[in-house]
């Protein structure tokens, strides 16, 4: 008995009569010689060959043509115009304004259709919804909304467009200082002082944590892979000292556009060799919105393909 082969199957699938021809992919579909009403193709074979017509575009749908005045068979309809760009936007569910998170130059000739994107500029326990907006011939399209989602994570993360570092052990987020410049002037002829305020209004905080590389593990009870830890920690220290804007987020729900100030510190652990306690100070340098993210290079909007990663999203 060979599993999957049936000598007396209803459609004559017997291995004795039919030569199994192996195909591993298809790249073109051609139709002719009939009047076509609808065409649907899906990679999910759990859909049975029932005569019901498809109602929606699924995650593994390959083509769905309805011949209703256009030869569109994809999940994007632009009345025959080429889609130039697709944007991902995000907002908090109780907010109104959408914030650009990523943009993608869309190129249908690449034959890609599964897109994946990772949003790292989020607040812990905020409630978000996402949307996709296509653009064709300078026309902004209809918005596709996601279900709301609430991120939940532990630890402190520092990220920019390319890197994402997590600190999780022995974290101490020290008191967050709100800097508002002011001066108290005491005129000699007055009982009370005069208080003058500046425009400064930003946060300053410092973080201390024990850094262990993401793949770090304890060998023999209390030994680490010292070489691996050194390489990972050096990368983190370089990241802290690269003078570039970063996104700081922590388990308390703080998400800030920051840069590192003062001197980051490494304090080697006294019992476990190879790992160290890291401390550094951060200063908030701006709001998180489309304009500042674009200006600080944390988001690229309306640029060419050169920063596209393998999945198509520039992140």
């Amino acid at each position: 008995m060979f599993i999957g082969y049936d000598f007396f199957g209803p459609l004559g699938h017997g291995s004795a009569f039919i030569t199994p021809v192996i195909h591993d992919r298809y790249t073109a579909l051609k139709v002719a010689n009939a009047i076509y009403n609808e065409l649907y193709m899906d990679g999910d074979t759990t859909l049975a060959l029932t005569p019901e017509r498809p109602t929606q575009w699924n995650y593994r749908t390959v083509a769905h043509a309805q011949f209703n005045g256009a030869l569109e068979a994809g999940s994007v309809a632009a009345n025959g115009a080429q889609i130039d760009e697709i944007r991902i936007q995000r907002r908090e569910t109780n907010g109104l304004a959408w914030l650009d998170v990523a943009t993608m130059k869309y190129d249908s000739s690449l034959g890609q259709n599964f897109y994946h994107f990772s949003d790292r500029y989020i607040k812990n326990h905020a409630n978000y919804e996402y949307s996709l907006v296509p653009l064709a011939a300078n026309i902004t399209g209809h918005r596709v909304l996601s279900n709301p989602i609430t991120p939940e994570f532990e630890g402190v993360f520092l990220a920019d467009r390319d890197a994402n570092y997590r600190l999780i052990y022995d974290i101490e987020v020290e008191s967050i200082e709100h800097i508002t410049a002011n001066a108290v002037l005491e005129p000699l002829n007055s009982q009370y002082p005069i208080v003058v305020y500046g425009n400064s209004n930003y946060m300053k905080l410092s973080v201390t944590a024990l850094f262990v590389s993401p793949s770090g593990e304890v060998v023999d009870g209390n030994h680490m892979n010292v070489k691996q830890e050194n390489v990972a920690r050096a990368a983190l220290m370089d990241f802290l000292k690269n003078r570039k804007p970063k996104i700081y987020r922590d388990m308390h729900g703080n998400t800030k556009l920051v840069t590192i100030v003062d001197n980051p510190k490494e304090e080697p652990h006294s019992q476990i060799f190879g790992i160290a306690k890291i401390s550094f100070s951060l200063v908030e340098i701006g709001p998180i919105n489309t304009v500042t993210l674009t200006r600080t290079g944390l988001l690229q909007v309306w640029k060419g393909l050169e920063q596209q990663d393998a999945t198509g999203w520039r992140v």
């Binding site: 002719a32 010689n33 009939a34 076509y36 009403n37 697709i86 869309y106």
Partner: protein, 363 residues
Amino acid sequence: MSRPMIIAPIETFSATVSKQIDFLYSGGPQAISSHLIVERVSNNAIVYNATISTFNLFHIIPANSLINGVEYRARIRVGGANNFWTDFSDWVVFKALSPATVVVTNIDTQNGDKVYNQSILFTALYTQPEQEPLNSYRFLLYGSRRNLIQAYTDQFPGLQSSPPLTLTQQIDNLENNQVYFLEVLTLSISGAKSTSGLVRFVPYYLAPKIHTTIVPLNVKEEGSISLSANILQLIGKVYGPDGALVSNVEFINNEFLDLTRIDYNRAVFEEGFSINQSDFVLKFWVKNMVIGETLLTLTTPDNGSVDVICASNRIIVEKYYQSKSLLARYATPVLTIRNNVIYMIGVMQRHQMIDVVIVEEVS
């Protein structure tokens, strides 16, 4: 002794209409007449010299007393009782100019004042008979209730540029099917103002749509949210029997594509079409199949194929290995294939084996 003073500057005006020249006068006897002299600046010729008996402190130059495109200067004196006259006022220079016309040119007025995009570079044509150069212009955008939405910044075409001039303004983010009004205001170098008036327009465009769903997912270890979507733009192409691309494909009732027509040979989905696995479910709804011909072909990169063929009384699926060297054949049970009936033909491949069905659609 007091003398009158013409209120300056005198705005540029068209000589084809009458013009009121206002002046100030106080401190002397009651004015009962005013005497205005207008000279041509270029040759000092007096072109207008008249006295009007009036108590009013203005003097009206009748229409067509002056000529458009010419620079003039004017002075005035006031007469009182007993043949009393004040001294003349200072000269005030002004210019008579034909009115300019400003016409917005890229609104489709034949078709309900439509514009066909969300972002439009509006153009307006500015003409002025005496070729008076333009100092500046600006566009104003109004909403459907003629409420001002935005006044765009002044633009300066440069004094060397004489009419006719094309004035442009980029306007973005227009809402689909909303009524807007556009106005163009111009200011010439001698101060003549003109306007296009409020011009109605309606943006009309087809906005792109994505039919996909996006699925957000929490990634705790990375402190991030990952999003996945299936986005695919797939536009089919119809070719004629000579292999030439058909540019304007006609559909029947926006419901059917007739590939039995002699001028339509086949429709091909290629750019953007890709399935990187052997398993698939394929369903299509057709009528009036041509007996003995191939209805549908799926092609692999190495010239393998899956062909769906309409035989006289059944549907046959033939599967070929590279360049048709190896064949497997599958078929539906026998049935009578009739015209003008919609059939659902389903093909499913699993474990390299194919199921094929044909079902008459119950209408």
